[in-house]
Subunit: 409 residues, 4 copies
């Protein structure tokens, strides 16, 4: 008799294939779940494989549009970043993947979900916090945290041996000396040779973007238009290409970023569980979009609101995404606040892309967002309605406090 139905987040790789078979061995009925979030993957082959090794059903969900519209664009509105540098590509994908997995689990009567994440990383946290928030009574099997699993499979060789024993097809490619996670927003590299933080990654590691040195010698100029802080139109000034569909627009931005060598970073970051780890990331389209959005906020957001947003939304929003707290009361709260700030972030930004660099070349605001900048008033040449003597009073009033200051040493 079955112990129950498990919906396993399945990748088609060695780990989750072994987990699939192992779960069956433990007495579970296993259904496989694959999310298309824009990674390069042969979904059909994986499906065939899953079925061949015992999965009762396989679900392949195209989540790319939800990923772009619900996760990526709000992160752009927030200028979200983790520890100043990381654009959160993996973190952003997890909520849509987990949500869809839970929806299917409910629909298919699975009271258990499972995944192949290790017990040291952030992803286990991100998946499981989402599972529990969306379906509080869900059961989770995380084999890599179960002694009966990780002690049985202490290394890759033992997994291969198990696969051979169980008739799981093993692709005999040379394993890369790092692990990756790819989606429409980014690809990450970690572990293996990257664990030495001083080791420069080999050039053949980078997959999504060309090296700046190999990018075209001619800059590419584009215009990105935003409505309420979300991109609604991209125009390539070099060749006239125009894209407006939210998903297509982002894919096209990726194309531009990839061929111009944009979006590589290499950092040591603080994982939620308290370890430091080294990661390399390529986020081509997201890097461009974030630069453009920050620029447009300069023109269209009131300075005080911008400051409050930077401190009170951008930073905590980035952290909660990183820590897997997307499905939470605080995310709802922050997103609600964020949206309000974006209602006048309307306009367009001109950018130049060239060999790894992004240069802002001008911007324009539309609607109420245009009211904050007054060319004549800001002019150093024209008086524009301001009485210069007022500034003297402003300064002397601020100085009242400073005149009382006694330096401490």
């Amino acid at each position: 008799m079955s112990k129950g139905r498990v919906l396993l987040a399945y990748s088609g790789g060695l780990d989750t294939s072994c987990i699939l078979v192992w779960l069956i061995e433990q007495g579970y009925e296993v259904l496989a779940y694959m999310a298309n979030i824009g990674q390069e993957e042969d979904f059909e082959a994986a499906k065939v494989k899953a079925l061949s090794i015992g999965a009762k059903k396989v679900f392949i969900e195209d989540l790319r549009r939800a990923f772009v519209e619900e996760l990526i664009y709000p992160a752009i509105q927030a200028n979200a970043v983790y520890e100043n540098v990381y654009l959160l590509g993996t973190s952003l994908a997890r909520p849509v993947i987990a949500r869809s997995q839970i929806e299917i689990a409910i629909r298919e009567g699975c009271d258990v979900v499972s995944h192949g994440c290790t017990g040291k990383g952030n992803d286990q946290v991100r998946f499981e916090l989402a599972y529990y928030a969306l379906k509080p009574n869900i059961k989770v099997i995380a084999p890599w945290r179960m002694p009966e699993f990780y002690e049985r499979f202490p290394g890759r060789q033992s997994l291969i041996a198990y696969a051979n024993e169980k008739g799981i097809p093993v692709v005999h490619t040379a394993a890369k000396p790092w692990s990756t996670d790819e989606n429409l927003y980014h690809i990450s590299y970690e572990a293996g040779m990257l664990e030495d933080p001083a080791a420069t990654p080999s050039q053949d590691m980078w997959k999504l973007t060309v090296a700046p040195e190999n990018a075209p010698d001619t800059p590419e100029r584009i215009i990105i238009a935003f409505e309420k802080g979300k991109p609604v139109r991209i125009e390539n000034k070099n060749d006239g290409t125009v894209v407006t569909d939210p998903l297509d627009l982002f894919i096209y931005l990726n194309t531009l970023g990839r061929r111009n060598g944009i979006g590589r970073v290499d950092i040591v970051e603080s994982r939620f569980i308290g370890l430091k780890s080294r990661g390399c990331y390529e986020t081509p389209g997201g890097t461009i979009l974030r630069a453009a959005h920050i620029d447009l906020e300069g023109l269209t957001l009131d300075g005080q609101v911008r400051h409050l947003k930077d401190v009170n939304i951008s930073i905590p929003y980035g952290r909660l995404l990183y820590n897997g707290l997307y499905f939470s009361p605080e995310r709802e709260f922050l997103l609600h606040s964020l949206e309000f700030t974006q209602r006048n972030v309307n306009g367009e930004v001109q950018l130049k892309l060239y060999k790894g660099s992004i240069t802002i070349e001008g911007r324009k605001a539309f609607g109420d967002g245009a009211k904050l900048y007054n060319m004549e008033e800001s002019s150093m040449d024209v008086q524009g309605g301001l009485t210069p003597t007022d500034a003297g009073g402003f300064i002397r009033t601020h100085a009242i406090r400073l005149r009382k200051w006694t330096p401490s040493n």
Copy 2:
């Protein structure tokens, strides 16, 4: 009889030359003060000019070392930035200039200081708040805020006419359609044709850096070593150059940044007085240094301390610099807190500079800063003393709260 002695911040240009003569006309004895903060300037010619038009004395102060050591390096430690993009080059120079001006004013018995800033910008605030904080009873003459001055000289032509009348030498160069402010850290461009935020600056505007397109085709690789968050050594891997003196090191970093097209930005920013204005900036060495410092903090700063520092020091420190509040109780407080965070930021960072882009290629920590990263422990392949089952408890405990969440819609 003289109304008193004025120490005028003098640049040698049309404005401050006219102010100098005008102040004499008002009955003041005028001494001229020039700060060498690394700008390109013919100080000797300016001195001759000042004396020739009536200055009693001229002081030329080389403040470059104090600028680098006391202002620039702490700003690097703080990762200070204003509104996400601006590296604060002008803001950083003002405190050293104002402090030296006040010191000379005191020494020379001037009870008045004067400057040529306009009544709409940030610099009047920065200079005067510093004056008042350092010498509470100082008197300030800001002619561009005085109706008797600005109504008499409503435009450049009236200044030229006055200069001609008073025998002030006028250099007949075509005025640039923008104004600039240069120092060792950066150059700024604003006003004139830049006042249209959509107008792309002409290529001949940029002065400090080559365009990325004109930078060398071969990347330049360097290593920057830090002690307590301040750079102490730079090594050029391409040619073996090594520089260690704080001032020379920064000048050399500028050389590297300039020739590799690094550090141009173009923004619309929120001035302290509440206006939006558009500025373009080149900060070659500072841009490199900031990227390297942020990277090293990733390896050497505890994650929680880093977060507290980002929110509670970096952001307010950048704002107070921008707003001219360097000589203030809050700056002392923030700097004191900042220094504590930096005591283990020891190590070196490898960077690649190439056509406008900076790529981090690895880093290494020294001393206590090295304790936070443990290669084996972070490894996804090795267990490293951690019990994977603990992470399950961590996750489920965090989920307690999330399981109670009711989405609002």
Copy 3:
């Protein structure tokens, strides 16, 4: 010929009566405006006086309901406080007063408004920032900042002399050795004998509340019910009184607070213009309401949201109120964020009022707000679905980072 029509914020007292006459003397047509925000005042007598000394019209506006519903209750939702102690009574009244004044100015064709605030305080800032925000082209006459006024009237005696000369009725009461500002929310005392921060105010100063020593010997027990963070019902358990109308409810809370000696504070605060000043305040109803609201948030707000709200809304909201920035983009933003946090702050709080102290004696949540607290789960006696071993994993995971800590000394 008239210089224009001025709408003067008029109190009936010596200062604004002299200002009224002085404005007429300067050639203005003057209309008088009085706001009823709950202060003790003979509005009719003041009206007669204003008309008798030359006002063309007098407007008396009852703003008490708007004050309570639009300003006081959101401040309660925000738990707004300035510098830990001051409940912002004066700050809260200014926006409704200024808004109504501007509305009447527009309706009556006045292009100038005027007030009797001094040039050192916060109120000039609060009134005028509101004026300018609501009607950017308004002209403001602030006589106490105009040399032609303040030099002519250097002290109270010169005002009295002017009043006698101009036939302005002067009430010959002994001037109190402090000045006050009263409204429905509070009364403030400052200046005069209070300027020595060590001087204990005399007992006869306090006007709104009885001294705790003189309050009843029997505690009064009440229940306050909240919906979305705003009070909707108050019940007096001692005598069965029930009040539900928002304005009546607040007036009744004041009655309770006043007779039980609640809400006196005595502080030194930092004015917006940078001076420190000493103020004493009585805020009877507001003090009770704030305590009750904070308590109910403990039960009904998610812990993380509560923390974000405390830091990112409560504190900046209190500061912007104090600084007169109610009519601003940042207030709109903060209020929008605030409202979202309050949607489940539904329930009731039991309180005991006794001789100056407020004691919370229990609380209850209604609706979704009740989901966060689970009696059984929190119980130390019952296991309630939690696996105790999870907490061990939680702790050991948090300890990963701490185990790397090297104390600095």
Copy 4:
């Protein structure tokens, strides 16, 4: 053969006595550790009991002075509070208890420590994070989180049965329907009948303070003097008592608070592990001290520094204490920053204590702290060196931004 030596945090009560015997039963050699942090306790009787039931040694450490000087006074400097109300009495005691336990464990060669905390509360976290931070390789036995223990002892009756079986003396007092934790700073009540958040605690629960109704009818007036934000002298104006020793001073403040009914609170709080729980607390001396310290900061701290401190130190410091993160890099950082803010917090505060209420009646600053307040300058009657017209410029400059504001609805 012994499994090792355990140092058990022992209270003398039923739980830890059973744990002591149970640990011996498991094969450990057990040493008992008791911390005197000011709680009412018969330490000698407990020592005799521990030895009688098998403890090899018993250590009773008087930590009261370290508790007051190292934990309580810095918390006063920080104005530390959790969720607006809770003064952190239990949190503050844990670090000194844990540190001493670890010191003894090291000295006595114990490689294991143990405690009797439950698996749902905060104290397990606080103790163990301290243990791991101070001695990373320590082993911790938390019986109430071990199934072999908590399943064997599902309730109080099973513990009593075990005690009887093992000859552990059981005091047959009626168990109170709540649990308490007491120390020099406070006493806490939770669980049992308090688990219903609407239930008013019975009057006989409160132990440390008299009810306000039973406090003396005559107010007690005191003066507290501070140096660098720490109390150095207390003077009772009623009877002339003066206390200056740090520990004695705090004990005397407790006496004053206790007899005047000061310091009771009743809240629902957010535990670190994500549960809400209800707690009642009495913190007599701490409540007085915090009010006095906040008041003195009003006079002696620059307004901007005070604001930065409130947001960036007080709030995170309170949270880290609550969450058991005292021995951490972030606490070192915050404490270092805190101390700098306190260097001019010198002066004295006059207070009135009466039936549960604290009234500030004046204050005075000493040394540099006195420079910020200038009686003449703040005066509304005197001009004091300020030019009133400056305030107009200040206001109109602030209004530049507001005049561009378009309300959103």
